[in-house]
């Protein structure tokens, strides 16, 4: 529980901080300090156990099935890092209290900072590798938010994105690596993994795992070639730089390598990958640092270099090297954090961080100058400071690399030492010389408590540097034993080991570094150089930006190749898929050759000569001769209906005929709003060969699709049916469903649930069409009155529709059409009533009824009909659906499932016995929905004419009717 609260505390603090008001700078700091102190207290409480060599674990079940429990685990190494995180965190918080401007919205800052602290503790304390990855990515995320804290600045946004992209990508690699590791070991538990080193190193997946984990660690620790994000992260407020980007987060990578040392290290691959990256980083970082003009930039590159140093040590991988690595992690955290804070003070006080401007600050900032110089000396590896000790251990280790004859590692180390002396000198040069003029702000010593963290850290550098054995030795020992276990070496943290090769190397580095600095300054214009000599082309940031840009561009390019926004290619692909995928998966039919040729009916064939001819001709005409195409397609429709009739499906024939009629009227109503396409104005600029290629391809697809469907149809038709559920329907329609027309019984009884859905579709489409037409804006070419109606030669052009029907050319047809109305109505009733036993039913009846009304619309026009008849299709729709539902629900009353049919047997005098199945009422609902739908759609379409129409002779009342249409519908 104690452990859990250690991790939870910062997150809790983060939430609290986020909820505080904008100007609560003091309260925020106190909260953060409280969290850090609290954490330290918990750490202190844990110390006895840890010091005793115990591994304290706390487990919480989360996802046991996946080997994913929430495990916290603290051993020496974790404890030391915990203290590091919390202690530096405490100082940074204190520093930030003074660094942040009163106008800054600090709640966000402290919330993010505390969240980072929690995440970092999570990384350090995770006892489960997956959980470690979680916290790992959380540190990336919080780092992103903190770098982007001043997000109105472009460099902050850019730096944040860059850092996050690189580290999160690394995190993904780490996750993959952890997965592989877990796969090898069979567990993600850290203790299990650490104990399985030999198994891992011997496994065939060792190299992938190593590479993936290394990618994670190296990106996080800003190792070459992923180092470039760190300098750009300096756009963050300085407390963030000092905390995340020097002391803690960037150490997560090397921490991980140290942590996994027992499991992964000890192979040539390890040395080459880790060590190689480290060497490059250490040299490049140190070299580039010399040529920076930004104080923080210089520190950032030096951080990179020092991280490279640590990485090299880990790569070397000997127990002593690991000791040196851990030691240097601690040392670097101390002096670099203080240096960043000093740089922050300079920035804060002078308003600039530009090395080309800053001079002579020791006059105005004497104390800060002293502190910074001492810290720089530690960074340069000057004796009696902590940096010297770990660096000398490093020199000693490099000598071991490659045996006695191989010195390259040592040369590299000395070169790095020289560079670090040079950039340290460059850093402290701001304090010397004549005081700078024209600084943005007049510098003063910072507030007492802002300097306090620096003082404390520099003191630590001194104490460790002078008396390592007393100060750091116990801590280091704790960590080393926890990491190396039995392999822990004997080592001696003393300032003086006598005259030896490492000492010589240190001296060389110091002297060479000073000389290098002087030479560069005197002869190479170090103070004003625009770019880094030799390797300025090696610009990771540029590469990153280019990569990101290319990634987007490439993705766009690729997307155009493998995707489309146009409809035709999509439909084409669907057809291609239809043609290719089924045979690819299912193969060729097993009985292909055995398919017999069946009987041939010349009359039926003649009929389909018509149907197919109409279809082909319709396809040919559809572009320019829409009406002809419509008529031709209608021809196919009639033949289809006739086919249904011929082949024992009278219900289908009736339905098809009615639908055919309604569809024709519907499309004609729509065609009125689609201006004609004139053959002569095809402005296609495409070359002919492309047009023909496309047509050829489409033709091939059409032929292929047709052939495929024909073949399938034939294959089924000549193949005897297997045992189907159809027999049940035939046998039970009359006895169970109470009707002899099995198709209708299917629709209103056996599968009435389908029918319910189907009428819902109708209602939905009607509503949608209505909604669409409410906002319909016709094409300008078709918005006016059609030319036919403007033709003065036609007497009807001077009459409104009602007059045409009353005394115009429609007088005579009108007599018939009006007389037919009651007949059509009765026929609709007839088809409705007989449906259950003979072809017919609610659907056909509904269509007949709707068409009967429609004919009246065609005859006398919308205005006249609606002034004489109020139809309210919405009510028909709603009523029909509800009726169908209520009928179905009636079954609940009889404790039966929804839509179970019941038949009431009523005996009426004179009439006789009446069977009233509930399916009948259900069918009535179908009828109502069909009428409502058809009327709503067609009438809504017809109403569009009223918008444009103002007939010359049309009078005011008619207009009033036109305005009222919306209400009535």
């Amino acid at each position: 529980m104690l452990l859990a609260s250690l991790v939870l505390l910062p997150f809790l603090g983060s939430v609290l901080a986020a909820l505080m008001p904008q100007d609560a700078r003091n309260r925020e700091s106190w909260l953060a300090i409280g969290v850090a102190v609290g954490g330290l207290a918990i750490a202190a409480a844990l110390f006895p156990q840890v010091a005793a060599g115990e591994v304290v674990r706390a487990e919480f079940a989360w996802l046991p099935a996946k080997g994913l429990d929430f495990v916290l685990r603290v051993d020496g190494l974790a404890w030391v890092f915990t203290v590091l995180v919390l202690a530096i965190g405490l100082l940074v918080v204190l520093y930030a209290r003074y660094y942040m401007s009163p106008e800054d919205p600090v709640p966000r800052f402290f919330a993010f900072l505390l969240a980072f602290m929690g995440s970092m503790l999570g990384v350090v304390l995770s006892g489960n590798l997956v959980q470690l990855v979680v916290f790992w990515e959380l540190t990336s995320l919080t780092s992103f938010l903190l770098i982007g804290y001043w997000h109105h600045r472009a460099d902050a946004r850019r730096g944040a994105r860059m850092a996050f992209t690189v580290t999160a990508t690394g995190g993904l690699c780490l996750m993959a690596g952890v997965l592989v590791l877990g796969h090898i070991v069979g567990s993600y538990d850290l203790d299990v993994v650490l104990a399985a080193g030999d198994l891992i190193r011997g496994h065939e997946l060792y190299l992938p795992a190593l590479v993936l984990i290394a990618l994670g660690a190296l990106t996080k620790s800003a190792q070459f070639p992923f180092h470039f994000w760190l300098p750009h992260a300096m756009a963050a407020p300085t407390p963030v730089s000092s905390y995340l980007h020097s002391a803690t987060m960037v150490k997560a990578g090397v921490f991980l390598l140290v942590r996994l040392w027992p499991a992964l290290a000890g192979t040539p691959e390890w040395t080459w990958i880790i060590g190689g990256a480290g060497v490059c980083t250490l040299l490049i970082g140190a070299f580039v640092a010399i040529f920076q003009h930004d104080l923080k930039g210089l520190l950032a590159y030096s951080t990179i270099s020092h991280l490279g140093l640590i990485t090299v040590l880990i790569g070397i991988g000997t127990p002593l090297a690991i000791v040196a690595a851990i030691f240097h992690i601690l040392n670097h955290a101390t002096f670099k954090a203080s240096l960043f804070m000093a740089a922050g003070i300079i920035d804060h006080e002078t308003g600039t961080r530009d090395l080309r401007v800053l001079r002579g600050l020791r006059h105005k900032l004497p104390i800060t100058a002293t502190l910074a110089i001492v810290a720089s000396a530690a960074m340069a590896g000057v004796p009696l400071l902590n940096g010297f000790l770990s660096k000398e251990m490093f020199f000693a280790e490099t000598l071991q690399v490659g045996g006695d004859l191989n010195w390259w590692m040592s040369y590299a180390a000395v070169a790095m030492g020289m560079f670090s002396v040079a950039y340290s000198l460059r850093f402290i040069s701001v304090f010397f010389g004549a005081p700078a003029q024209g600084l943005p702000r007049d510098p003063h010593e910072p507030p007492r408590w802002m300097r306090f963290p620096v003082e404390l850290l520099v003191l630590a550098c001194l104490v460790v540097g002078v008396a390592p054995g007393v100060s750091i030795e116990p801590l280091l020992h704790l960590a080393v034993v926890a990491t190396l276990g039995e392999a822990a070496p004997v080592y001696d943290l003393a300032v003086w080991h006598g005259l030896n090769l490492p000492l010589l190397m240190s001296v060389c580095a110091l002297v060479g570094g000073v000389a290098l600095y002087v030479v560069l300054r005197r002869h190479f214009d170090l103070a004003q150089r625009e770019r880094v000599p030799l390797i300025h082309r090696l610009n990771g940031a540029q590469a990153y930006e280019t990569t990101m840009l290319q990634l987007t561009r490439g993705a766009e390019w690729l997307l155009r190749r493998v995707g489309t926004r146009r409809l035709q290619p999509q439909l084409m692909l669907m057809m291609v898929a239809l043609l290719l995928v089924p045979p690819l998966l299912a193969g060729v039919p097993p009985a292909w050759t055995a398919i017999p040729l069946q009987g041939f009916d010349p009359l039926f064939a003649g009929m389909w000569l018509i149907g197919a001819g109409c279809a082909l001709a319709g396809a040919w005409m559809a572009k320019y001769h829409r009406l002809a195409a419509l008529a031709l397609v209608g021809g196919t429709g009639i033949v289809t209906a006739a086919t249904f009739l011929w082949l024992s499906a009278p219900d289908l024939a009736l339905t098809q005929l009615m639908v055919e009629t309604v569809t024709t009227v519907l499309i004609l109503l729509g065609l009125r709003w689609l201006p004609p396409r004139i053959e002569s104005i095809t402005g296609s600029t495409q070359p002919a060969w492309r047009v023909w290629t496309r047509r050829g391809r489409d033709l091939a697809l059409a032929v292929g699709g047709g052939l495929a469907l024909a073949a399938l149809t034939y294959a089924v038709l000549v193949h005897p049916a297997s045992d189907t559920i159809a027999d049940f329907f035939l046998l039970n329609a009359l006895s169970g469903g109470g009707g002899s027309n099995v198709v209708n019984v299917l629709l209103v009884d056996f599968r009435n649930f389908d029918t319910l859905g189907e009428i819902t579709v109708l209602a939905i489409v009607a509503l949608t069409v209505y909604a669409l037409l409410r906002r319909f804006r016709p094409a300008p070419e078709s918005a006016g009155i059609p030319p036919q109606q403007r033709f003065e030669g036609d007497p009807a052009s001077r009459q409104n529709p009602a007059e045409q029907a009353d005394r115009g050319y429609l007088l005579v047809p009108g007599i018939y059409l009006r007389l037919l109305l009651p007949f059509m109505g009765v026929i609709a009733v007839y088809f409705f009533m007989r449906g259950h036993n003979l072809p017919g039913g609610g659907f056909v009846a509904g269509l007949i009824f709707a068409v009967a009304i429609l004919v009246q619309y065609m005859l006398a026009g919308t205005v006249w009909v609606e002034s004489h008849l109020s139809l309210r299709p919405h009510r028909w729709l709603g009523f029909g659906l509800l009726l169908a539902c209520v009928t179905g629900l009636g079954a609940w009353w009889f404790e039966h499932p929804f839509l179970t049919t019941h038949t009431a047997h009523v005996h009426w005098p004179l009439v006789g016995e009446l069977h009233l199945p509930s399916a009948f009422v259900f069918d009535l609902g179908v009828f109502a929905v069909v009428v409502g739908t058809t009327m709503l759609m067609l009438v809504a379409l017809a109403h569009q004419s009223l918008r444009a129409h103002r007939h010359p002779g049309e009078d005011a009342p008619a207009d009033g009717q036109g305005g009222a249409e919306g209400r009535r519908l």
Binding site: F791, G793, D794, P813, L817
Partner: protein, 118 residues
């Protein structure tokens, strides 16, 4: 192709004759539709089909079912009535559409001259 029940000869022969006649008349009507030169001639073809071709078949049907089912089957009359009620409307409207389309086309070709309808 079974189903046609056995009818006595006295009924079968007229039914067969009516069927053949109806089929032929239907065919003649559409031959007119296909063969004649102008639309105004072609429109006269289907009138035969509708009036007499269908009529023969309807009579044949009535006769056939009345004899075959030994009861009066005359609901085919309804079809005749409906056809007679709707056919005039159809030909009137198609004819009038053709006339005014042609008039309009003539006006568009030769403005100033009001072509008469004869």
């Amino acid at each position: 192709m079974s189903g046609a029940e056995s009818l006595p000869w006295w009924a079968a022969i007229p039914v067969a004759l009516l069927l053949v006649l109806g089929g032929l008349i239907t065919l003649v009507g559409t031959i007119g539709l296909a063969r004649l030169q102008s639309f105004y001639q072609r429109i006269h073809g289907p009138a035969i089909t509708i009036a007499l071709g269908a009529g023969c078949i309807l009579v044949a049907s009535m006769l056939y079912f009345t004899v075959a089912q030994s009861r009066l089957v005359i609901h085919e009359l309804l079809i005749s009535v409906f056809v007679l009620m709707t056919a005039p409307v159809v030909s009137m409207l198609i004819m009038r559409a053709a006339v005014y389309r042609d008039l309009r086309a003539a006006r568009d070709m030769d403005p100033g001259n009001d072509a008469g309808n004869s």
